[in-house]
């Protein structure tokens, strides 16, 4: 498990517009920045920036298609984030059980 990568994923998903971009890609598969911008109250330039952040976090992949670039989701890193939450949560469950015992 790579915590740094989980952190990048959390950061990428912390922005509400980026979450809507992810949602659009999840629902419609491969899309161009213009197609995503058409459905959101932001400019194509803003969408392109958000897509760059998602690519940096390993959440999206870009493929040139003629004069356009098409984007699709890469779902794997999300499971890293879920893995971090699960692992960290389980460690706290253990610690808090020990805390209760230490107070008795």
């Amino acid at each position: 498990m790579n915590d740094a990568r989980a952190g990048a994923v959390f950061h990428a998903l912390s922005d509400p517009t980026r979450r809507r971009v992810v949602q659009a890609l999840a629902q419609q598969g491969t899309l161009t920045a213009s197609a995503i911008a058409a459905d959101l109250p932001v400019s194509r330039q803003a969408v392109t920036k958000h897509l760059a952040a998602l690519r940096e976090a390993g959440l999206a992949r870009a493929t040139p298609s003629g004069r356009e670039v098409r984007y699709e989701l890469v779902p794997a890193p999300m499971s890293d984030a879920v893995d971090w939450i699960t692992r960290t949560g389980a460690a706290w469950d253990d610690s808090l059980a020990r805390l209760q015992r230490s107070l008795e």
Partner: protein, 130 residues
């Protein structure tokens, strides 16, 4: 705030008074009974030290905030791992018991929250567990 889903949060009611729980959260010797194998840091704001887990993992720790009787906030990171912020908040619970809320999240996420909140009423970086 929509980010609550992205953090680890535990909300437990402990069968002990608030003063005893507070000691368990802030006394290194008592912390070593439940949080880690050894706790080598003084629990006052700005202090730095290390916490060694039972499996031998050593974390560097910075004490971000101590609100006596109420909250401890720590920032920690094991070697090469993403730093996270940990907040431990205590409150009275009925029957002389004590509620403890633990929140842990990547520091980068906290910064994102604070950035989004600039100009708003929210005063970063703390995400207070209501």
């Amino acid at each position: 705030m929509e980010l609550q889903e992205d953090v680890v949060r535990r909300d437990v009611t402990l069968d002990a008074g608030r003063a005893a729980v507070w000691r368990a959260l802030t006394d290194p010797g008592r912390l070593a009974r439940w949080l880690a194998a050894t706790v080598d840091v003084d629990l006052h704001e700005g202090a730095t030290g290390t916490i060694t887990d039972r499996d031998g993992t050593v974390r560097d720790v910075v004490v971000e905030e101590v609100l006596p009787g109420r909250r401890v906030a720590l920032r920690w990171a094991a070697d090469g791992e993403e730093p996270t912020l940990v907040e431990l908040t205590v409150d009275d619970a009925p029957g002389g018991r004590t509620r403890l809320v633990v929140v842990e999240m990547p520091v980068r996420l906290v910064r994102a929250v604070a950035d989004e909140a600039v100009g708003g009423a929210f005063r970063g970086p703390m995400l207070v567990a209501a």
